[in-house]
Symmetry: C2
Subunit: 140 residues, 2 copies
DNA sequence: TTCCAGTTTTAGACATATTCTAAAATCAAA
DNA sequence: TTTGATTTTAGAATATGTCTAAAACTGGAA
């Protein structure tokens, strides 16, 4: 079974009529741990599929979001980014590079959100800022 | 002492040359617990000062930010909002109204940010989403 | 006071991100 | 094959924010 066939079936399983454009976009945006902007998706998809239009990329990203295949965040800079990680998690933003890094849900403790008077909290996320740290050399 | 004189001195104390426009913008944006967008600031300031320009509002908001009088957040919807609360705090977004509500720093526990491998966290904020809850009637 | 150099404001152009429109292309089903 | 619905497309439109260069203003020096 080809990669295209597998992705095609995956889209169908989620109620999305597959098309060549949608499969090409899915291949890039649903299998990355980066957080690409629509323009980055467009540029990447055009490498293999040069005639794809900007409108299709925006339409398809929104469709994938509506079908629950990705999330869209506005974390900074007036640009929306796609997030293929649909499980709950937190985000770290490298202030030098702008890179957005996923932080596992269980790696951070958040408490007492149920005690906020007058606010019914349905979901939450910790947004951290800082710099990536060089790992200290491991002495195995 | 008039309100204008007080604000004027406040701006001077922070290294900002006061002008009629800057005082009018400061009056609205530095004394609110809402989180207005630049366009909301423009509309509000124009009620008293109809000839103020959009460029001046953007320039002044940025100047106030550079001088530490407010912060700017990108919380959702591709619009930047002004935050006159410069102390550390968290944010709750009402998903029905879009309203942004400040949550005191000490009302939420956040832990283990220092244990994230490879990430040096300088600052963080919890972004919560949900609905405002009607207060239950207090039986005093 | 008047003058002047620096600062501030302004309208509008420009830039960027996203959505909308309406026609063309494609597709699925009969 | 026909056909009606869906999808894609180029480009226009909209939304948010920045830049430019000229005009207006300001605070001291003369
Ligand atoms: Mn804040
Ligand atoms: Mn935008
Ligand atoms: Zn993520
Ligand atoms: Zn706030």
């Amino acid at each position: 079974m080809t990669d295209h066939e597998r992705l095609s079936g995956f889209l169908q399983d989620h109620g999305i009529q597959p098309s060549a454009q949608r499969v090409a976009i899915a291949r890039f945006v649903l299998h990355t741990d980066r957080h690409p902007t629509a323009d980055e998706v467009l540029a990447e998809v055009r490498r293999d599929f040069p005639m794809v239009s900007r409108a299709t990329v925006y339409n398809t990203i929104r469709l994938f979001m509506e079908k629950g295949l990705l999330r869209i965040h506005q974390l900074e800079g007036g640009v929306a980014v796609c997030d293929a990680n649909t499980a709950r998690h937190h985000h770290f933003i490298d202030e030098d590079t702008g890179e957005i890094v996923d932080v596992p849900w269980d790696a951070v403790d958040v408490g007492r959100l149920d005690e906020l008077a007058g606010l019914s909290v349905d979901s939450w996320m910790v947004v951290m800022r800082g710099r990536r740290r060089r790992e200290p050399p491991s002495r195995d």
